[in-house]
């Protein structure tokens, strides 16, 4: 038979696992009934939890990196990296809680303990029946009254993963904190800015790894040089015009790695779907493939104000009135890959490439027929329904993504090989 003592803590387990408050004596009665029929204790507990709507008690040990937000019945073996006491007030009552970091071979997480388990920094412990919450977009381990802690031999865990969140550049999103990134500095420039009334030197540029590139800003002099390969720990990600940007400062660590790591040729401009780009809010030097579905008005041969560079409407500048316009070429087009769409902006060089005509030739042709719209029609003929591959920088606002095209490349329409490959794949 089950001892009275254990039985109470089993009831605690069940109650903790339930989404709603259920009367303890009712649960006790049911549990006793199952046990009297010889149902094993674990099964009886899980049956009750299922009946009253809760999350089943997980009894297998979990690696920290697999722990998600809002899990219950967690069973973890970990090392306490740091632990600090803290006084808090809960419903008018003072309580002492503990917080810090714990880690295993797979990850490091923050934790909060609502009870004094007499654990110290460096202890290796087995935690049974903990739960997880979300804290700063990461799962946090919580130890409650119903959690059990057992001390283990410290050699159980040899090394703990130090980094809180190692990220690839493609996965960085504005708002992320405490990230660790390894990348090569592709460019670097010094700037003097005024922050809080003081002049400060900052270092910024573009860094890249095998998944992509990202602008960065360092608020501290880490003695960086162009082409250094570095690991930044405890950096954070800001959004600039919607697109992610990595920032590091005096709270961050920068470690220089061997310069033959992450060779330049491995730092590519990776192909992304437009939906991912929309979700990221943009990106530096990214590549997308899509089809042009619309050419937006004021594409083609345009005239700009010599004072402010704005595009003239009927020979007039909104600010400077009637001026002698400077001719230019550009295309604004909707590029769509079936997952999302963006506004692609092609400058004069790219437009000349698409048209196969120089600006002067465009001017001449338009003057001959006295119709500047002719160039726009030519553009429409050349690129609507045309699959393109473009690279460039993407930014976003409430109206969507804007993509400044650096390179454009017409995709080959000969798809015989790809079609055969796909057919083979389907027949397997």
């Amino acid at each position: 038979m089950v001892e009275e003592n254990n039985f109470e803590s089993d009831l605690d387990d069940v109650i903790n696992a339930l989404d709603e408050d259920i009367d303890r004596s009712e649960l006790k009665k049911k549990l006793e009934e199952y046990l009297s029929y010889g149902v094993p204790l674990d099964q009886a507990k899980n049956t009750l939890i299922k009946q009253y709507g809760g999350t089943l008690i997980v009894s297998q040990k979990k690696n920290l990196k697999d722990v998600q937000v809002n899990e219950r019945g967690l069973n973890i073996v970990c090392r306490i990296i740091s632990i600090n006491p803290k006084e808090i007030e809960v419903k008018g009552e003072k309580r002492k809680i503990f917080y810090g970091f714990l880690g295993d071979e797979t990850a490091t997480r923050t934790f909060t303990s609502w009870k004094d388990f007499e654990i110290n920094k460096g202890d290796v412990i087995q935690i049974t029946n903990a739960y997880s919450r979300e804290w700063r977009k990461e799962p946090q381990i919580n130890l409650s009254e119903s959690t059990d802690v057992t001390q283990l031999d410290p050699s159980t865990i040899e090394s703990v993963v130090r980094s809180p969140a190692t990220a690839k550049i493609i996965d960085l999103r504005g708002g992320m904190g405490n990230v660790e990134v390894t990348a090569r500095l592709l460019s670097l420039e010094e700037k003097i800015v005024t922050a809080r009334g003081k002049e400060k030197k900052i270092y910024s540029g573009i860094m890249g790894d095998t998944t992509g590139k990202i602008p960065y800003t360092s608020w501290k002099d880490f003695g960086l040089n162009e082409n250094d390969v570095i690991t930044v720990t405890n950096g954070y990600v800001k959004s600039w015009r919607g697109a992610p940007q990595l920032v590091f400062d005096e709270n961050s660590q920068v470690e220089k790695l061997d310069s033959d790591k992450l060779p330049l040729q491995d730092i590519g401009t990776s192909l992304v779907s437009i939906s991912i780009l929309i979700e990221r809010g943009g990106g530096a030097d990214v590549m997308v493939e899509g089809t042009v579905l619309e050419v937006i008005k004021d594409s083609g041969l345009i005239y700009r104000c010599p004072e402010c560079n704005r595009v003239l409407k009927n020979g007039m500048c909104g600010t400077h009135g009637e001026v002698q316009g400077i001719p230019d070429l550009r295309i604004k087009a909707i590029l769509d890959d079936g997952t999302g769409s963006l506004n692609a902006l092609f400058n004069r060089e790219r437009t000349e490439q698409i048209l196969g005509m120089t600006l002067d030739e465009c001017k001449q042709t338009a003057e001959e027929v006295m119709n500047p719209a002719l160039i726009e029609h030519k553009i429409i003929d050349n690129i609507i329904a045309r699959p393109l591959q473009v690279t460039g920088d993407a930014f976003s606002d409430e109206f969507g993504l804007t993509f400044l095209v650096h390179t454009v490349h017409m995709l080959s329409l000969d798809i015989t090989k790809q079609a055969n490959d796909l057919l083979k794949e389907l027949e397997e």
Partner: protein, 275 residues
């Protein structure tokens, strides 16, 4: 507001759609959700413009058909699109066209929904653009099939769980809406759809959908052989077709197509006869 993406999908999937999602606010877009979870407000098709007909005397309403290897998109263009109407009215048929359009629905009675397309842009293109689109539509269709399979394997499928597998929000939402509306999806028929489309690429020619044509000829033969004077009952023909190793759905589609072409007719309800 963000521009809606243009889904790549075949008529064979689009025309099966019976699920509509209305936007909540005045300015929120409405969608149709296909059986494979494409949540379509806008779509992009490259196919063959087979005919354009005038539905009004003044030419202010046109109906057109754009055919792909799996079926036919029905287009309605109205008076608010004068340039497009004019362009469409003067197009040669058949010709290859690229079409961007919005999804539209027509509900003649409660519970019956027909989908069509209101074109935003039509442009004549060449065969290579069409072939590229077929490959693209195959890839996107395959991705949606895989997403449906993933969702089917989940104990409680959710948008978040699909997103965590790497599917984007629009598709994840579409898949969940599709599951609750259509229930179990016949995955295999959509795999055959892709194969049929790919096969059409190999032949390269637009006007002979050899595979479809072959089935049509065989079914037509079956009817001719068994019709007698009064025609063969529908069910009996379907049974014979299944005996001849055709899918029930394929048979029914073929019958519809033969009927549309005027090659067979119903002398009385439920009986089929060759014309």
């Amino acid at each position: 507001m963000m521009r809606e993406q243009a889904w790549r999908l075949f008529a064979g999937e689009y025309n099966e759609t019976t699920c509509k999602v209305e936007g909540e606010g005045d300015r929120d877009p409405s969608y149709v959700v296909t059986p494979l979870g494409a949540k379509v407000n806008r779509l992009y098709v490259v196919g063959v413009l087979t005919n354009v007909e005038d539905l009004s005397s003044e030419g202010e309403m046109l109906r057109a058909h754009v055919s792909d290897p799996t079926g036919v998109f029905v287009l309605y263009a109205g008076q608010y699109q004068p340039e497009l109407l004019d362009y469409l009215a003067h197009m040669d048929t058949p010709s290859y066209v690229a079409l961007v359009g919005k999804s539209r629905t027509y509900e003649p009675e409660e519970g019956t929904i027909y989908v069509s397309v209101r074109p935003e842009l039509i442009k004549e293109v060449d065969a290579s653009v069409r072939n590229y689109w077929i490959l693209e539509a195959c890839r996107h269709t395959k991705k949606r099939i895989e997403a449906v399979v993933e969702a089917d394997n989940m104990t409680s499928p959710s948008v978040d769980e699909l997103k965590s597998l790497g599917y984007d929000t629009a598709l994840a939402e579409g898949i969940i809406a599709s599951l609750s509306h259509y229930g179990k999806i016949d995955i295999d028929s959509y795999y055959s759809l892709i194969k049929e489309a790919l096969a059409s690429l190999k032949t390269g020619d637009i006007n002979t959908h050899s595979h479809t044509q072959e089935i049509e000829e065989k079914i037509l033969g079956l009817i001719a052989k068994n019709e007698g004077d009064e025609g063969i009952p529908w069910e009996k023909l379907v049974k014979k077709g299944i005996e001849a190793k055709f899918d029930k759905e394929v048979i029914e589609k073929t019958l519809e197509s033969l009927m549309d072409k005027g090659l067979i007719y119903e002398p009385q309800l439920g009986r089929l006869k060759t014309a």
